[in-house]
Amino acid sequence: MKTVLATLATLLLLVTAQSHGHHSTSNFDFEKEVAVSGTVTYMSFTNPHSFIDIDVIDKAGQKSSWKVFATSRVVLQRYGWTPESVKAGDAISVTGHPDKTKPREMYLTKIVFANGKTWLRSSIDN
């Protein structure tokens, strides 16, 4: 009885589960890379993960909004990031692994800050 119920509940959860990960990175395609440059509109320097919203202007002059996910504030600060590293209005370039289904979301691997410094995601950090 209990096994059947537990199995049913688990199956229900798996079926209803969708790919918008909150702090999982399984929704990103780590085989692919994408790079964009643009202007920061919002920096969420937070636990359990951080993200940067960027407005990107393409060659045709069209503006699109990108969301770039990164690891926790605790880990980023250990890598030397500060609340001043990325701010709204900054012009930055980012490289990352694209989301498998959402065309303008990625997981950050490399960033060129507004001050010209480059930061590369450490291989030990997931």
């Binding site: 229900l12 959860l13 918008h20 909150h22 702090h23 937070t46």
Partner: protein, 163 residues
């Protein structure tokens, strides 16, 4: 502005997101609370199902219940704190909604056991099998609480399907 937007905009909600160790602190508190809550409930349920029949059911329940309530207090305080950091996201998260529903079902099951089944405990307190209703409540309780843990863990891997 919804209540969820208001909550995560409070200074406490901001601190949960932005302070270095507050979020991990509440995560740890949540885990300790889960261990106490579900651990003490599972031990009581196993006795009801028929293990360790030498232990009086009343004595087992009396020993476990204070730890169950302490665990419940810990998960509630830490859970509401974690929620306040990301109220808007959590409120529409499918796994979170399923989790709340499962907690309600587990609570109803416990209430049913306490107010109906447990009344006749004097008849099956020690060395005999519990009645079928007690065993069913106990098995259901274990299944529900394991499902609550599963749903909670899956919040990180689930969303509302919104962009």
């Amino acid at each position: 502005m919804t209540i969820f937007e208001w909550l995560q905009a409070t200074s406490f909600g901001i601190a949960v997101r932005e302070s270095l160790w507050l979020y991990p602190f509440f995560e740890i508190l949540h885990l300790v609370g889960i261990a106490l809550l579900v651990g003490s409930i599972a031990m009581t349920d196993l006795r009801l199902i028929g293990l360790s029949r030498a232990l009086p059911v009343t004595l087992t329940a009396r020993h476990m219940l204070p730890w169950t309530w302490l665990g419940f207090a810990l998960v509630t305080v830490s859970g509401l704190s974690l929620f306040s950091g990301f109220a808007v996201d959590y409120a529409v998260n499918t796994a979170f909604q399923v989790k709340l529903l499962l907690i309600a079902l587990a609570g109803a099951n416990a209430a049913l056991f306490h107010w109906r089944v447990f009344r006749s405990v004097a008849d099956w307190n020690q060395l005999v099998a519990s009645p079928a209703a007690a065993r069913l409540c106990a098995a259901l309780s274990i299944a529900l609480w394991l499902s609550v843990i599963s749903a909670g863990r899956l919040i990180a891997y689930t969303g509302a399907g919104k962009d």
